[in-house]
């Protein structure tokens, strides 16, 4: 056990800190909730992407031969942690491209596909979205029904996707379709790369309970996709994407976002009163803050244990579901706790006179579901843990 870093790693950390000092856009510090707001200062974010890319820090863990940074696991960790510590914007502007498309392209793409797509993703020039979930295929993703039929050099796609985040801003979609309805459900699926401008493809934003719209429904009516845009073989779509589905983005950035949020909650408690006394002196509030801090610390340390496994070359399995469950608890509890600190004022939303912190906490309270439900509901995570770690029998 050793929480110190090698001299090389410490040198890298110094390099990251120097870079941050020189290049971090002035406007930052938003909670991760504010993806939409974050999108609004695009010129600064492009510049940030350029600067990061110049250092090789976009796609830092991808191999150098495809244009990635080839960072070691500990360097990746240091980079993410230092960035998170200062609340820097995301490490790369093409969020979905980096998270979902790149890894699949690197493993399954043709040379032509790699040449065409990886560069723009790294340079932040192209936004991607993912066409996975459907109205009847959420937790049970492999039940998807969106249909593609081969017609000459094209596939003709008909059907619907839902919960497609950022679809309104994306130029490309990585899409899962069913090409063989008679095959077992995981085997009849194919992966296509689709320009969002293709005729017949319609995007309809989904209004959310917090009033915003980050997700969309996407409808396909005789949408023609060139066979050249197929990623992997026909019927290989599940394999092509499941790696990325299982690809645990290190949760260090998430942990830091939560740590910043708890810091702000402590600050809130110090400023507000409950029954005439500072809220931070209320024993019940103190217990809840300390308990949440403990959970976030546990999440951070759990993450370090997982990273250690990776450093030792062991595969990561279902244990990442543990941190997802803890995160779900904290996402929900943090908004509720802030509300209770605010007391009567906890009901005042963003644009209200008297709203505390411009309604920040009400927004938190209304924005947890994507973080709790996305990537598998808590019930799904519990099934994963129970079955794959504890060996309990399947029930679905």
């Amino acid at each position: 056990m050793d929480f110190t870093f090698s001299a090389e790693d410490e040198a890298f950390r110094a390099e990251v800190r120097a870079f941050i000092r020189d290049h971090l856009p002035k406007r930052s510090g938003q909670d991760q909730m504010d993806v939409e707001e974050g999108m609004s200062d695009l010129p600064a974010l492009y510049k940030w992407n350029q600067d990061l890319h110049a250092k090789g820090w976009v796609g830092f863990h991808w191999p150098r031969e495809v244009g990635g940074g080839g960072g070691t696991i500990s360097e990746q960790m240091i980079l993410k942690e230092e960035m998170a510590r200062v609340k820097a914007p995301m490490l790369g502007l093409s969020y979905m491209g980096l998270a979902w498309v790149g890894p699949a392209l690197i493993k399954y793409g043709t040379q032509e596909q790699k040449d065409r797509h990886i560069g723009p993703i790294l340079r932040g020039e192209v936004q991607w979205c993912t066409g996975y979930s459907e109205p009847g295929a959420g937790s049970d993703l492999a039940a998807l029904q969106c249909r593609a039929v081969r017609d000459g050099d094209d596939y003709v796609v008909n059907g619907q996707k839902i919960w497609t985040s950022l679809a309104m801003w994306a130029q490309w979609m990585i899409l899962l379709v069913r090409t063989d309805p008679r095959a077992p459900k995981h085997l009849g699926i194919t992966c296509l790369l689709v320009p969002m401008s293709t005729p017949g493809l319609t995007v309809k934003p989904i209004k959310e309970m917090n009033g915003g719209a980050m997700f969309a429904e996407v409808f396909f009516e005789d949408v023609r996709v060139a066979v050249a845009n197929r990623l992997g073989a026909e019927g290989q779509g599940w394999d092509v994407t499941k790696d990325a589905l299982a690809n645990e983005r290190s949760s260090i950035a998430d942990v830091w976002a939560l740590k910043h949020r708890l810091e702000a909650i402590r600050d809130l408690a110090a400023r507000r009163t409950r029954r005439g006394r500072p809220a931070i002196e209320d024993p019940g509030i103190r217990q809840r803050i300390a308990r949440m801090e403990t959970q976030v610390e546990a999440m951070r340390l759990n993450g370090l244990r997982f990273v250690t496994k990776q450093l030792r070359g062991e595969p990561l399995g279902a244990e990442t579901s543990i941190n997802k469950l803890i995160r779900a608890r904290i996402e929900i509890e943090s908004g509720r706790l802030a509300r209770d600190i605010e007391g009567s004022f906890g009901i005042l939303a963003k644009t209200s006179p008297h709203a505390v912190d411009k309604g920040r906490w009400q927004k938190v309270m209304l924005s947890w579901p994507p973080f709790v439900i996305g990537g598998g509901t808590p019930n799904i995570q519990k099934n994963v843990i129970a079955e794959r770690i504890l060996g309990l029998p399947h029930d679905v």
Binding site: R275, G343, G346, S352, M365, P369
Partner: protein, 373 residues
Amino acid sequence: MDFGFTPEQDALRAQARRLLDQELPLERILAWSAAPSALDRALWKKTAALGWAGLTVAEAHGGLGLGAVDLIVLLEEMGKSLCPLPLAATDLAAAALGALGDGAQQAAWLPKIARGDVVATVAIAEGSDVPTADGVAARAGARGTDVTLDGTKLFVPDGQHADLLLIAAREGAGVSLFAVPADTPGVTVRPLVVVDATKPAAEIALAGAVVPARNRLGAVGGAWPTLARLVDRQTITHAAEMVGSADAALRLAVEYAKVRRQFGSPIGRFQGVKHRCAEMLCDVESARSLVYYAAWAVDHAPDDVPSYASMAKAAASEALDTAGEECVQIHGAIGYTWECHAHLFYKRGRQSHVWLGAPDEHYERVMTVLQHG
């Protein structure tokens, strides 16, 4: 011994359900909540004609002269529909007039309230979170036979829809209550933008507003004991709405769980969903029992009111905060969309939880009563 409702009360409940289903289905509530506009005066008059606005107003003043139990029958149904009509606020104002007003004051206002011509509310709370008389900082000053009012009232229920504001203000060593028409010069009513748009609340700024001294309800500085009792009444009626909302949130989740299929089966077949629903039912029914008894106590066992009001509110807050949240979670991603009704209950739960005191404050009071009677 009978812990149930009379046939008349059952009929009142059925009437309310019919009317609310017809006039205010959740689709309409949803549309309204996107841009909460003015009170639907026509609908308010319509319900007033059925006796709702004057339900607890004495018959002599044009009301039905019914009790708190009858009132919560209505409010529970309104809670199920997340109905934004200002019934609880108006009842509270009528109760204040009934308890503190003299014959002339009652005759001046109660019949209009009962007819639905005047919407009324009581403004007690301010920015302070101290729920005692010390929390009232607004001041009343004498000017000849008039009284001037200054200060800021906050979280006034349905304040933006009220024609008549009953305003608590410090006068001398105590707190007085004044009947202030909303259009009095120096009175500015601003809607507060709240998490749950179906529960309107307002800020009332008083800048040298002048009312005649005869608008004082009760003795100079003598209103607080009555106001404290009224807050208990308000707590109970609000808890009744919450129980209705929690019940409806649970039913919404249950109905969805019966039809939504994942992995080849309705999700309501999985214990991960069904056991949570069972626990919620347990909590909803418990809160319901406490609310029913607390309402009965208002008219029949006043000594029981403080502790049962607090038990009812604490239990209802916990039941609804959970039911609203679970309603969203059980719906999965759909539950996060604007079009799904789940968030309406979620917002009601998150808001009502702290409105009129969070559970920990009420448990503290329960404990105090247990220790000191």
